[in-house]
Amino acid sequence: MYSFNYNRVKSVAEAAAALVKGEDVKLLAGGQSLIATMKLRLSKPSDLIDLGTISELRGIKVEGSTVTIGAMTRHAEVAASQEVKKAIPALASLAGSIADRQIRNMGTMGGSVAHNDPSADYPAGLLGLGATIQTNKRKIAADDFFKGMFETALENGEIITAVSFPVPKRAAYIKFKNPASRYAIVGVFVAETASGMRVAVTGASPGVFRVPEMEKALAAKFAPESVANIKVSDKGLNSDIHAKADYRAHLVTVMAKRAVEAALRG
């Protein structure tokens, strides 16, 4: 790892001020992706701003039909939260399926969402539930936030503070995981929300995406057979030693079907 300056801050305002001080200043959440890329010397920040000591960024709140989760809330906390389990069980079980016990104890909502790994789970949950990403500057709809591989709508100096999720009527997330890393080879989040059906896919392509044909079919009838014969094109899908593009395309249909079954089971 290259050397860097480590900075501890007490508030989001302080972090935001420190973040724009230099070219290569980076936020540090749990470090579960960042420290790994720094060890590989793929990332070379001059300064790290540790968000770990900002208490306003932690915690889970349920107000009416909205669940709001602070950016520094750990995956393990979301997975174990009685409130999340009750309001959006699919989100709690998604969080519990990320990585392993030790990574879930450090990794955070904000870090995962900002990192936007093409195989990460939270992006599917956010897009599938129609969540809103809150930053120190504005609110961004999940539909406008994820911009493809490791790219998001976040601007320079912008910090995710929380993510709010509308409680869906029903939802489920099923992933075909890489057994070594637990990242999604293909993961599909299906939700029936107040604003309609949503089907979000992660792992299959360079960025998380929705499948409008499946959403339409589910709006007509919320049943596994509605999506069982809808195929996505394999054009532009990821292809690697774990799964070729055509296999990933096939998995999208299979995972979507299983997600609908799981959502119906509740």
């Binding site: 050397s3 480590y6 392993d100 016990r101 030790q102 450090m106």
Partner: protein, 157 residues
């Protein structure tokens, strides 16, 4: 540049001047000379470097020491009683022959303690799934699972 880092390790207050980029595992092994915390992969995969940070299992090769500032750290050296009596999990590992070369064992024990805290009565399947952050290169999983099941039963009383 160096910075001062302070934390509690196995109940003792410790502090040192370290480079900012010092990983927690290197601080534990090289500064504190607590070499029971192992480095197997150095890429957050194998779990040999597992320690508890404020009561939760984490991989100490994947955070910098500064992230543990002020924290309560438990390493394998702090698990047994000071008179050497093994704790319940260690005793179950011994009883069920849950180690071969022993390289993965410190991480396995600390991870298993966190597992049982979250799943007081785990099924065999739950243990296998919930232990997925720890690899045993001797592949002695069968007895590790048995030991954890037995330790959980003892802890439930």
């Amino acid at each position: 540049m160096t910075v001062k880092v302070s934390m509690t390790v196995n109940g003792k207050a410790v502090s040192a001047e370290v480079e900012e980029r010092t990983l927690l595992v290197n601080y534990i092994r090289e500064n504190l000379r607590l070499t029971g915390t192992h480095v197997g992969c150095d890429t957050a995969q194998c779990g040999a470097c597992t320690v508890h940070l404020n009561g939760r299992a984490i991989k100490s090769c994947n955070i910098v020491a500064m992230q543990a500032e002020g924290a309560d750290i438990l390493t394998i050296e702090g698990v047994a009683k000071s008179d050497g009596t093994l704790n319940t999990m260690q005793e179950a590992f011994r009883e069920h022959h849950a180690l071969q070369c022993g390289f993965c064992t410190p991480g396995m024990v600390l991870s298993a303690m966190d597992l049982v805290k979250n799943f007081p009565d785990p099924s065999e399947r739950e243990i296998r799934e919930q232990l997925d952050g720890n690899l045993c290169r001797c592949t002695g999983y069968h007895n590790i699972v048995k030991a954890i099941k037995a330790a959980a039963a003892t802890m439930r009383g």
